[in-house]
């Protein structure tokens, strides 16, 4: 048995357990050290992802290929950036406990399992491992009512979604007799062979996964959880789990159910359109920047879903590029949001950004870059993300979808640009507290990435291309 395939996951969970023992035995403050260990674990896992070969292991339950490698690197990057963001925030807000990196590590392990799932059972276990960690992380500031509420809300709704997913899995298993992706793909080669029960099963699986990427109409939890959770956790929510869930959605829809495209394509189109419209319209009225980011993420998921709806390797390539761009953009934005502090108190209102360009030009510039990029202004990274997705849609003949996408991004750019306007043209207020170096680092690095993506898109596009090819191979 080729157990080496899962080496990154094994290493991550071992690191988590070591930190756990270390943290329990060491009575005094161990948050910083644990976080550093965890970051080291992420790095090590990323190295292992790059070096371990590809193949199918564990009796077909686990697959490592170009797709899973790309997604895992992306997950690790998102998680690492969020963990760096949490270093100072957690200390200021009295939630600097060593369990934080441990939960993050184990949750990331779950996400990596999701990226490598090639069996419906692996899919479910990875998803649950990820979610359980996320519930606790959302409620991590347990003395804060909003945080506890966020955790509880996420838990209840997510449990419902998991139930639906499981129901779908059981239907699929019942009607096809297998849970293995490859075997499912073989069984379902002929689109006509699918019975209605199987289609219902696929729909339920789709619903469960759509909940995890917070696509409309399964998005209800997103704004509340984004707002209530501690901000670094929100940053984590908006990067790694999104990528993992999207990867799972891509693999599940493309590999086992790929031949059933006609059965689920319409559904994805509807979900995608609804997400784009809601993301664009509902964000306009928001005054809390974390809620705004929540609606923004719903919109972004809508754009990314276009690529899946096309159902071609080009579409999947577009989705992957979109996710790469989105992770860095989003992490950078949250770095800026965490920097919004006055006299040690975190701020969350959009109006708190008034006149930032006068008091902190560097932060304002970074924020402006992220906002322009999210709006899709060329030549920033966000533009390329959208470009590849729309391109695939046009090639795939889904003209309407591409047109709706362009229209909603025009509407959406209103609120992104409004933030830029507030920062540059409104009267300045009291300056923010000095930024910790970690925040500047994250904001700077992701800002550079976002701004200069157009210079070197080739390796990313190449990786995405290779990954997409595997899925349809």
């Amino acid at each position: 048995m080729n157990w080496v395939l899962a080496l990154p996951e094994i290493v991550l969970s071992l690191v988590a357990m070591v930190i756990l023992i270390f943290g329990v035995l060491r009575q005094d403050d161990s948050f910083f050290l644990s976080s550093m260990f965890a970051l080291g674990g992420f790095l090590l896992a990323a190295l292992l992802v790059l070096t371990t070969g590809s193949g199918i292991g564990y009796h077909g339950q686990f697959v490592a290929d170009a797709f899973s490698s790309l997604v895992k690197i992306l997950i690790l990057a998102g998680a690492g950036l969020s963990l760096i963001l949490s270093l100072d925030y957690n200390r200021h807000n009295h939630i600097a406990r060593f369990e934080f990196p441990v939960l993050m590590l184990l949750s990331v392990t779950g996400m990596m399992v999701m990226a490598s799932a090639s069996n419906l059972m692996t899919l479910y276990l990875g998803l649950e491992l990820q979610s359980l960690g996320l519930y606790v992380l959302a409620a991590f500031a347990r003395d804060d009512l909003r945080s506890s509420e966020a955790g509880l809300k996420y838990f209840v709704l997510s449990a419902l979604a998991s139930g639906l997913l499981l129901y779908g899995v059981s239907l699929v298993y019942g009607f096809s007799g297998t849970m293995d992706f490859a075997a499912l793909a073989r069984t379902l080669t002929i689109p006509q062979s699918a019975s209605p029960g199987l289609i219902v099963g696929i729909v339920f699986v789709l619903v469960g996964l759509a909940f995890k990427i917070s696509a409309v109409p399964f998005h209800m939890w997103t704004p509340d959880v984004y707002e209530g959770a501690p901000t670094p956790v929100t940053a984590f929510f908006s990067t790694a789990p999104k990528v993992a869930a999207f990867a799972l959605l891509l693999r599940t829809m493309a590999t086992p159910f790929g031949h059933q495209l006609i059965a689920w394509q319409t559904l994805i189109i509807i979900v995608s359109v609804a997400s784009m419209i809601l993301g664009a319209l509902a964000a306009i009225g928001q005054s809390n920047i974390k809620r705004l980011m929540a609606y923004s993420s719903i919109g972004h998921m809508g754009y990314a879903l276009i690529g899946l709806a096309v159902g071609t390797p080009e579409g999947v390539r577009g989705v992957l590029i979109y996710l790469i761009v989105y992770v860095f953009m989003s992490a950078g934005t949250f770095a800026c949001i965490i920097a919004m502090q006055r006299r040690g108190r975190p701020l969350e209102l959009i109006t708190d950004l008034n006149g930032l360009s006068a008091t902190d030009p560097a932060l304002a510039l970074a924020m402006a870059i992220f906002m322009f990029s999210m709006a899709g202004v060329p030549p920033l990274a966000g533009f390329f993300g959208k470009l590849y997705v729309f391109l695939a849609a046009v090639q795939g003949g889904l003209w309407t979808l591409a047109v709706i996408g362009v229209l909603t991004s025009v509407v959406g750019s209103y609120y992104y640009l409004r933030i830029v306007k507030l920062m540059y043209f409104d009267a300045p207020e009291e300056p923010f507290d000095p930024r910790p170096t970690a925040l500047s680092f994250v904001a700077g690095a992701t800002g550079l990435f976002t701004a200069f993506f157009f210079v070197f898109p080739a390796p990313f596009v190449g990786a995405a291309q290779a990954a997409a090819k595997v899925l349809f191979g």
Binding site: A6, S13, M17, L20, G23, Q27, D28, D29, S30, F31, G57, Y58, H59, Q61, F62, H94, I95, A96, R97, F98, E99, V102, L103, L106, S107, T109, G110, V113, M121, T122, L125, G126, E128, L129, L132, G133, Y135, V136, A139, F140, R142, G151, L171, F175, S176, G177, T178, M179, D180, A183, R186, T187, L188, S193, S195, P196, G197, L198, V200
Partner: protein, 224 residues
């Protein structure tokens, strides 16, 4: 024949007690009916020849999970009237949703058709000449080792989560220090006095334990 009779009797009791779980007025009775239905499910497993699963069901669900359920339900002060107040109001909605789901299920099951490859693709046909305990063990620890370990980590996360969210060190609670207790000597704790015959409290004075310096309450933090 006896197996058939047992099957029907147990199934009927199982269904009836399952219905009573949701419909009985007293939550403690609900839990007890739940236990009864677990039991009958275990018997059904036995009839199917899966004795390991049957006993594990009893040990895990009846012996541990349901005890904790019962524990919690007995401790909770539930206002049954309030709990049921919404029943009438939501009944139509609930019934409609239920009916729709039921119709869908009938629709789906009506078109039940196994994929032609299904029997071949069946993961683990029951092995011959091996007791089902051994067969299960073999499957679980070889073919499904990855899932088994993943499930283990899942439970670990649940445990960490429960501890993170609920464990608080109360500053007022006093912990037992076994070391301090065993290190005590007679000289520290006992004072021997010679009491003359007939002397009362008035003469000797009331003896109290030696005043001990109150230990400084240490602030024990978990992690932070």
């Amino acid at each position: 024949m006896i197996a058939n009779i047992a099957f029907y009797v147990c199934s009927i009791i199982l269904l009836a007690s399952a219905a009573l779980v949701v419909s009985s007025r007293n939550p403690v009775h609900s839990v007890l009916f739940l236990i009864l239905s677990f039991f009958n499910a275990a018997v059904l497993f036995l009839i199917a020849g899966a004795e390991f699963l049957a006993l594990i069901l009893v040990i895990v669900y009846v012996g541990a999970v349901a005890v904790l359920f019962l524990f919690v339900v007995m401790m909770l002060d539930i206002d049954f009237a309030e709990l049921r107040s919404g029943f009438q109001r939501y009944l139509p909605v609930g019934a409609t949703v239920g009916a729709v789901l039921f119709v869908e299920l009938v629709f789906v099951l009506g078109g039940w058709e196994f994929a032609p490859q299904a029997p071949v693709l069946r993961f683990s046909p029951a092995p011959a000449n091996v007791s089902n305990t051994a067969a299960l063990g073999r499957l679980l620890y070889t073919d499904y080792i990855f899932l088994f370990q993943a499930a283990g980590i899942l439970l670990l996360v649940a445990m960490i989560g429960a501890i993170v969210l609920t464990l608080r060190d109360r500053k007022t609670s006093r912990h037992q220090s076994i070391r301090a207790q065993t290190d005590r000597t007679v000289a520290e704790t006992l004072e021997l006095v010679t009491v003359t015959v007939g002397a009362g409290v008035k003469e000797i004075g009331i003896l109290r334990p030696k005043p001990v310096d109150p230990e400084p309450v240490e602030e024990v933090h978990h992690g932070n």
